[in-house]
Point group: D2
Chain length 300, copies 4
């Protein structure tokens, strides 16, 4: 198949490599020309503008958008709409909020353009060598883009999930689960680190990666991380987040779904952004008020 | 009534003041002679040893033990047993674990000595001016010590709770609730502190102390704390704990009682003891492994 | 002072009683004429329509809106705007979201109308006999309405909190704290109910209401509840919620404020709406898959 | 190697199969003679009593104990001690508490008998076809039993973890992580089940098992479970637990390690044992007290 790819960051770049590897023809564009030049060496056709990218595709065109979630997606879509024709297909492979995908699909539909929301998992490595794709959109149109996923995903690693929004919804929940699983693993090592035993954490992650109930990719990555820095001494425990975990909790609240593990995983990430907390001060001050318990002064 | 008081720390000292104020006669002892001397000025009879304390009481004697929970209680009881007679009464007013109180009562019973486990709440101020007492032990013997509580507690501020252990159990659970309530209040101020508004926290605590649903002593203490240090700038948010919260959670686990708020309050206290965490490092390292997300280096 | 009150539900009705008791003149209106008639017997002036209510007030008018949060507030405001004049004052005393209050104030400002967002706490009883009011809006205009609160609040039970939205924000956080405190108390009784002791819960709540660290209005209400139904046998543990707790958690997420206790209190409410859960089924099925652990069949 | 196996339940039975498959000679015993007879058909030597089992082994003997954790382990050890000789080796492959393993090792050491605590993961399937073994005990003696694990574990699926207790400690923490990961997965499906989309859960688990970040054995088992019962309609969400999760939380409390995810996973299991809760009743009653909010009657 022939398609256009807009956005050549870590994920987009790797997806194009993957698509080229599977004999697809890819016209590529990014505001930064560098990755497009690199990909041209691998067989991609670089475009210097979205107009040029679209002009190199024949109807029904397929354009995959892989840009940071939020306003940039809308800007790209606004640029694309007048350039595309009825029956063309736009794929948003980024981490967009499913409600935005629903709204964008409705907007594109007014122009006769099909829209698919595709959640992509597997990390940058998965994008390059075989990831996992969760796809929402029109069931009848899906066969037109299915060949893209057949090669690029690992075996059974793609799913037509349902109507529009269902792909990004699934990816969002996937990330919520991911938060919980990562925090569970991390808490396990927290207990080990405070225990009386002098465990080799890389060895522990390795044995848990082999035959245990909790084996899986995250445990293998844990092993990798410890192989590079046995006690993780070089880094701080600041847990950033990029939005999907928060969306999962917000969605759970809207659905009145009780999700303590996912919610707490998110809150522990927020907690990790601070070395001291105001709530801690309030509790410490209260203990001092009623029981005369000593507080830790700020200069101690 | 006449009684002996062993242990003249913050709580014991204030209890004696309270007892003296209510016309009880109190023979007092502490390893540190200073507080006993001070109390003698208020009318207490200081003893220089437990033997001397006991010798100044007539059977049936009442001895109130107010020492730190744990082994010291057992040491005091071991000293007391040979000095006491059948029918004498020992009160443990400290924060002992209820299971230890059950065991101690059984031991004393072999010598014909009655034992009451008394949980005391209201802080040091309550001990001095009117606290809250939760009392476990033999229902038939209780009338012999009830006069002590009638004056010393605030109105309706004492309860014969049930058989041995029930007083300390109730105090333990009281403290578990206290952990949860304090953390709830503290989290509320956490949200205020991060909000777009420039609240005066003392004013907030004052208005919430007057007529709101969440009014109560803890909110009044919050007001006091902010009146002294408007943003709590001088202290760190290190939340120590003295055991009863942990016991409540452990007991809840044993009873298969789901107590997320009390458990999380305790875990947040533990979290506050650290400025960085190993679990945070593990999550940060994992995010870097699969997504190439930047970590915060330890020297940043 | 003379003012209009729109909305005579439980809260509005009681506020009018309170206002009348403090010698204010109140023109009242509700879609349901009944409460207005009752209040007229106490001295209120009933109006049959908002137009009539406004016509009975002289500029600068003060209109207090006490209707359910959400669209009804906007409908009332849309009705009021053409009827009011520059310099008039509208108070929203309901549980509106602070962001909506900010937007409404901006809208009214275009018409020269002042807007105050007033969070009201203390329950229906507080509304009638002395509640707690948290007030946001223009500091310079506030003195014009302050007399209303001076009588109606308990002593020090009102606060000019800051600019527009700060009143409802404070009420929202108040309710978040309330969720946490209630759940903390409830979990304490959960542990008692599973313990080996046969506590009288009313007695426990009473002793904790007198002199303990956790004394306060919620504990007194707990005592009241147990006095009517000693084991709460007649009711089910379904914990409804009316929005502010959810808003607090959503706001905390937006502010990256870690609020585990408030969040878990909300999630436990959602959990209580179900007698069985899908997540429980998944865990049970998984245990069966890897360990052959028996599941509970749906007909057991 | 030749060894004895005491305890032929699901795990012990499968381990023997695995050992026989790897050309070890196994003398087997269970209070129930049936599994021993079955295993004799596969080449095991059944014994009718522990004495007989021991008598068929030559010094230095290796005896693997695979019985339910708790007193039965002690009973078996008490039976074994007089039958064994200095230099013999006992392996406890069950889910014993690490502190008990430390105490048992000390007891056996008095008789010159070596003791290894071996945590076994991978479920019943892993026991039969290749599991994961975490081994604590004397490093110098370990080579004598290492050949057992080389065949029976999957590749790199065994670890000499450290001194006595470290194997069972590691298995305990493994199970704590398992609780958290299972609950995270389950909560994800909880959100899906309440969403506007009609997902096929088996398909979802399949796509997440292929190439996603959260792929692993638990996700594959989730797929298996849904393949048998697409909506898990036949079972109830009652989440039993067998002890290690509780031990992990208790240990975390002792170590002051903040483990909210593992703790909450356990508490949600306890919560699932009840269809209604006392804490829910308390909150519902309180809402009724202060706000007049309707409660759900028990007959509704």
């Amino acid at each position: 198949m022939k398609l256009g790819m807009i956005g050549l960051g870590k994920m987009g770049f790797n997806l194009v490599q993957n698509l080229l590897h599977h004999q697809h023809q890819v016209v590529v564009y990014d505001v930064n020309p560098e990755p497009g030049q690199k990909l041209s060496e691998l067989g991609a056709v670089p475009a210097t503008a979205i107009e040029e990218l679209v002009s190199q595709l024949a109807s029904p065109r397929v354009v995959w958008v892989m840009v940071p979630a939020g306003k940039i997606v809308d800007q790209v879509l606004d640029t694309l709409i007048p350039l595309l024709s009825q029956g063309d297909i736009v794929i948003d492979g980024g981490n967009s909020h499913y409600k935005e995908s629903i709204a964008r699909a409705a907007k594109l539909k007014q122009h006769g353009i099909h829209f698919f929301d595709v959640g992509t998992s597997g990390g940058t490595e998965g994008a390059a060598q075989g990831g996992c794709f969760m796809i929402g959109g029109d069931r009848n149109v899906f066969p037109a883009i299915e060949p893209l996923f057949q090669g690029m995903a690992v075996d059974q690693g793609y799913l037509y999930a349902g109507e529009i929004g269902s792909g990004h919804f699934l990816k969002m929940v996937h990330n919520g689960i991911e938060y919980g699983m990562m925090q569970a693993i991390a808490e396990g090592f927290e207990v080990l680190s405070k225990s009386q035993y002098d465990y080799n954490y890389e060895d522990v992650a390795r044995v848990w990666s082999n035959g245990s109930v909790i084996r899986g990719w995250l445990m293998e990555l844990t092993q990798n991380a410890f192989s590079k820095d046995p006690k993780l001494d070089s880094i701080r425990g600041v847990m950033q987040s990029s939005g999907e975990g928060k969306w999962t909790v917000e969605t759970a609240l809207d659905l009145q779904a009780s999700t303590p593990i996912i919610a707490m995983s998110l809150l522990m990430r927020y907690r990790s952004l601070e070395t001291d907390t105001f709530n801690g001060k309030v509790v410490a001050a209260l203990r001092n008020e009623f029981g005369g318990h000593a507080v830790v002064q700020n200069n101690e």
